[in-house]
Point group: C2
């Protein structure tokens, strides 16, 4: 559950967490190796005041110690709590009473540690709600803010200052990442170890960093996302200005199992996370390496206007490798203009390649690299550049680095570099990274780094539109669901087709007849051969008992009625038989069978699904999903992105189907399942799409009877 944001908008307030004036360490200790002592020591560089609180000591490490926060003479704005689990709630309450608004609970032994701990966590949450407190943790490593050199953690590493703000659901990973980053010259703005997220969670920090001018990039390591819908909405807003990069672990079945045993969180489905994070505009990284490459690039480089990349190299082979990596990415190899190529031909020696990748060849010095670089930068097709240099006798890497830095600054260029050497490339590579030109040995990493800019550009250029509100008959739909509830049946079939009618999703002409006479008159009204289906909430697989008959002529309707009812009775004598549906026969051959459906994810809520019927969904699993409610753009993407989409567009000589009608149906379905959260699962299968529209031929849904 997404906790704190529901209480109030904490975003501006969270600055205090990372940049307080006075910190109280509740549970401060002088005992070597203790957490309380580690925190006190880590706070030594803090540019504000630190007060030590411990009722059992007068002095700690030769500094005064207070029995409680209220006794601290000056006002405390952040309390870091590291007392034993049973007394945490009391300590937090005391701090709140003393006027503290922000608390970090370091202590473990809460939700992650059995029922007793869960109770403690519940109590802590109540204290926070009562006192309107911003609480990090429990079971947190702590928080760091380089603005005032705050290191309120018990970890062994402190970050360099920078503009990346970082939240992590693993405290150990904070330690590891900060240590590694310092070694690689990467700095942070704010860092928070989220712990158990009893109160503040990822959504709160997203919002906080959105408002923070010191944060260029938000980085997250998350194992679960609580309140997926709120996270999605917050991220959608944040990412219009600030890139958000996340490793969401537990991606694979094995990983999800490990994550659940680590945090005890109920895992939502990976497909929901994948869809939700994509819809939220989050750039997802799959490994730690990717996380930092992407973050560095988004922090250091401008986001270009397009995806055309020029490669300038002194070596053909590495040029080809770089091109391959571009081919794997969302970037494209820029087609250089004739002018550019003429200028390159003029400037470069024979044997050079003036097509992209531009090969300035093995005897190139720094000047020749610079000439080629300056020439391609002026080409309109070039939005970003990768310079790939192999060591040669005539090339000085340090001087090349200085030149790249100069050109990068002059043009505010999205530039990445590969200095493909070992010891001889190290200093130059470090200098480049420090100067905001990401530098690697492996060309594929340089490409990945620019690719992140393109992925973020696409996010930033999206226009988010609210889902369309169709004019629907909500009351009629509610009536259908209430009828089902009255009957006490959680599973519904064709008898619920009115639900679709109510939401404007076309269904075949038809009715449920409860006598053979009614069936005959319905068939006469509809005209032509009809489809007849037994209607019984107790018979889920109608076809299996011969409960569906197609192409029934008017003359046969009465007999078929009797036959269907008899079959149902024989199959299950006590089944409730509501009658027989008599339905206009839809010509399946003239259209394409599709499936539109929805289910409910524990984290993200309604999840819409689209695919083609038959083998496409069942064997090839060729489906698209989105977290609902979906906008027209999202519905359109769903229809376009399945592998079999060309069939809808008219592949193999077919007439294209009315895709707009499919898109509209998905949106209407999205509105339906959003309006009625009691619909747990719903499948329209098939929804037949023809060149002239769509028609929902069959329906199955499951309703939560407790709602």
């Amino acid at each position: 559950m997404h906790g704190f944001a529901a209480v109030r908008d904490v975003s501006p307030g969270l600055r205090t967490l990372f940049s307080p004036d006075r910190v109280a360490v509740v549970g401060a200790s002088g005992k070597p190796g203790s957490v309380g002592r580690a925190i006190v020591e880590n706070l030594e560089g803090f540019e504000g005041d630190v007060a030590l609180v411990n009722p059992n000591r007068d002095r700690i490490l030769e500094r005064p110690c207070y029995p409680d926060v209220a006794s601290v003479p000056d006002p405390v704005d952040l309390a870091v709590v590291a007392v034993p689990p049973p007394v945490v709630a009391d300590a937090v309450r005391e701090a709140a009473t003393a006027g503290v608004g922000h608390v970090v609970v370091i202590t473990a032994g809460f939700g992650e540690a059995g029922p007793e701990g869960a109770k403690r966590e519940q109590e802590l949450r109540q204290v926070a709600e009562t006192h309107d407190l911003a609480v990090v943790g429990p079971n947190s490593l702590g928080v760091m803010g380089t603005g005032r050199s705050l290191n309120a953690t018990f970890g062994p590493a402190a970050p360099l200052p920078g503009s990346i703000s970082f939240m992590s659901q693993s405290g150990a990973f904070v330690t590891a990442a900060v240590d590694w980053a310092s070694d690689h010259g990467v700095g942070f703005r704010d860092v928070v170890s989220l712990g158990n997220k009893a109160v503040l969670d990822e959504t709160d920090f997203l919002r906080a960093w959105d408002d923070d001018p010191g944060t260029n990039v938000v980085l997250g390591y998350l194992e679960s996302i609580d309140g997926g819908r709120e996270f999605l909405e917050a991220a959608r807003e944040v990412t219009t200005e600030t890139p958000v990069v996340v490793v969401k672990s537990g991606r694979t079945d094995a990983g999800a199992q490990a994550a659940s045993s680590h945090t005890g969180a109920i895992a939502g489905s990976e497909r929901a996370y994948e869809a939700g994070l994509e819809q939220a505009g989050v750039v997802r990284a799959e490994s730690v390496g990717e996380l930092f490459d992407v973050a560095e690039s988004l922090d250091a480089l401008p986001v270009p206007d397009g995806n055309g990349v020029a490669i300038v190299t002194n070596a053909g082979g590495p040029g080809v490798m770089t091109t391959d990596a571009v081919g794997d990415s969302s970037l494209s190899v820029a087609a250089l203009s004739r002018e550019t190529r003429e200028a390159l031909t003029e400037a470069l020696p024979d044997g050079a390649n003036t097509h992209n990748p531009v090969d300035v060849i093995g005897d190139a010095d720094v000047d020749r690299f610079e000439t080629a670089l300056r020439t391609v930068v002026h080409d309109d097709a070039v939005d970003a550049v990768i310079v790939v240099a192999c060591p040669t006798a005539v090339l000085d890497f340090e001087s090349l680095a200085a030149t790249l830095e100069e050109v990068r600054d002059e043009f505010d260029l999205a530039l990445a570099s590969c200095l493909m050497g070992g010891a001889r490339a190290r200093a130059a590579g470090m200098a480049l990274s420090d100067a905001g030109v990401p530098s690697f040995f492996d060309p594929s990493r340089a490409v990945r780094s620019l690719d992140a800019l393109e992925r973020y550009r696409q996010v930033r250029e999206r226009t988010y539109r609210e889902p369309t509100e169709f004019d629907v008959d909500r009351e009629a739909a509610r009536a259908v669901l209430e009828r089902a509830a009255d009957r006490g049946t959680p599973r519904l079939g064709v008898e619920a087709m009115d639900l679709l009618d109510a939401y404007g999703i076309p269904t075949p002409d038809g009715t449920i007849a409860d006598s053979s006479a009614a069936a005959v008159s319905a068939a006469e009204r509809i005209g032509g051969p009809v489809v007849m289906k037994i209607v019984s909430p107790d018979i889920l697989h109608k076809s299996d008992i011969g409960g569906v008959r197609t192409d029934v002529a008017e003359a046969d309707v009465a007999d078929v009625y009797d036959d269907l009812v008899t079959r149902a009775r024989n199959y299950q004598p006590d089944a409730t038989v509501l009658g027989v549906q008599v339905q206009e026969q839809v010509d399946l051959d003239s259209g394409t069978e599709t499936i539109v459906g929805a289910n409910r994810d524990p984290q993200f809520g309604p999840l819409l699904l689209f695919g083609l019927g038959g083998v496409f969904v069942e064997v090839l699993e060729d489906t698209s999903v989105r977290v609902g409610p979906i906008s027209e753009r999202e519905a359109t993407e769903m229809v376009a992105e399945i592998d079999a989409a060309p069939l809808l567009r008219g592949a193999r000589g077919r007439e294209p189907v009315d895709r707009d009608a499919v898109v509209e149906t998905l949106q209407r379905l999205s509105q339906l399942v959003t309006d009625f959260p009691e619909i747990l699962e719903l499948d329209v299968n098939p929804l037949v799409a023809t060149p002239d529209g769509v028609v929902a031929v069959d329906l199955r849904l499951t309703v939560d009877q407790d709602q």
Copy 2:
């Protein structure tokens, strides 16, 4: 073209290239910055003799200089040639005459440099053939062999000794890779810059290193593979004992274009490379980073017997990340036995996780890590281990490294490690890598490194069987092709169905009738309704002109005959009409339409293809390919690996089709296109597969008329 191996088996001889007794530098120079001087200087550490050759100098760098190789007083076994392009062939000829068997041509300006250069390269190849010479290059950076500290290159870097042998189609990449590897403590056995591969190519070096006890792993950077078939056969042999890891660049369209402009090589199709390298047992790397991670792991670690991996960590989050990476790989998270878990429960504190990933928790010291490690190693389900350690106050990385090294050696364990820190992890990480425990920051790289062992294990466990030789009527097939050649038509259709009959591929009963009377009598003989198709080599798309009629009753056969011939005449008055095929009507609904086909790749020769008919191939591109001739195992894999394979196995209530018959058809087709290289392209579409067998309903092929 694969050159030298055709002349003689050079493998044992190639040792001399990397470990000669006396090297002559032909084109030696004292001029600063010249290639001739760089080679002389790089040879200074060589443990054999070096003779300088240059007709224009008496002494170079204060050493004696000879006018030609013949004048060198002692026998020379390797000549390194760096004279201007026009005199290279002469210099090589002179060296050969003087008894030199091995030559490295450094000089550029050959095949890569226009028609003039191509002529020179042809001449060089002739000299090599005449004198039975092993020639590297031209346009090569040179060769290195650490056995005798040979560095016969003009590059700036020299390798550390090791057991990885490395060939590269890019000289610059040799320089880059060697420099980088030295910095990372990675050494090489032999290194060769292949240059233009006028004589010796990748296949020759594969064979040479197969016989070399000093080579543990073969590494390759290749942009093209000449003589794909020979390479495949050689690699298949080599990889039974020595892993071969290759970056084949030009994977993507953009990359292939760049590669072709770099080397001038005609690119084979990426699908052929992908299939061929896989069939050859080559472990393919997609990036430079992957190439070296994989090489290091295969060089340092034993190949375990299975794919079960245990993760031992002091941090839950990084444990989950590692598990995710395992989920992405061919490894699996080992399910620990009850005994193991009980032993872990006993040894570890409360809060530890005794399931895999095993979490020894944050306060673990080295002893606790060691206990957990030794416990999991004894579990039968555990074949390899990854230790993931985050920095904590109580964990000493150096001492952990020493322990890991000890356990690794004691159990000859496939062990990889993540010391997740920066500066504080560096020394320990280096020590681990040096001791044969690959060490990384990013868990996904540790997993990749063990995954390489599993990929190679699968290669090594394959049993290669020769393709089955079916008893076929080769002469009958030849007659069909000759008839086509006589008619001067490269494209054939149903009139060539006899080709399939001759190779034992079932076809419907049928005949080509050249009169309506013949058609009627054929239909009578066949019985039942028939299919009739116009037969004309000039009409490729029979359906488009209404040239195919199905379900023709006997009574209508004469009329339909006339109608089809009229349609053909109207469509194209001068078309050759061979008649009308009258064919048994195959019930398409009772079976599944498949496509079996073959085309010809410039590098690998026959390429077999399999897929399901209709949208599966045309829209979803769901096909499998193999380089032919294929064995039963390969044909079976082709049928099993398409996405739609469940349909053949009986998904959705279908009866399974006779997959053995499909597999046999693929093998027979493979034999056909291998026997007749003049078949450029052949498609059986559809091959209808039913529970009782297969039948080839239609056929299209293209024949090379010059053969």
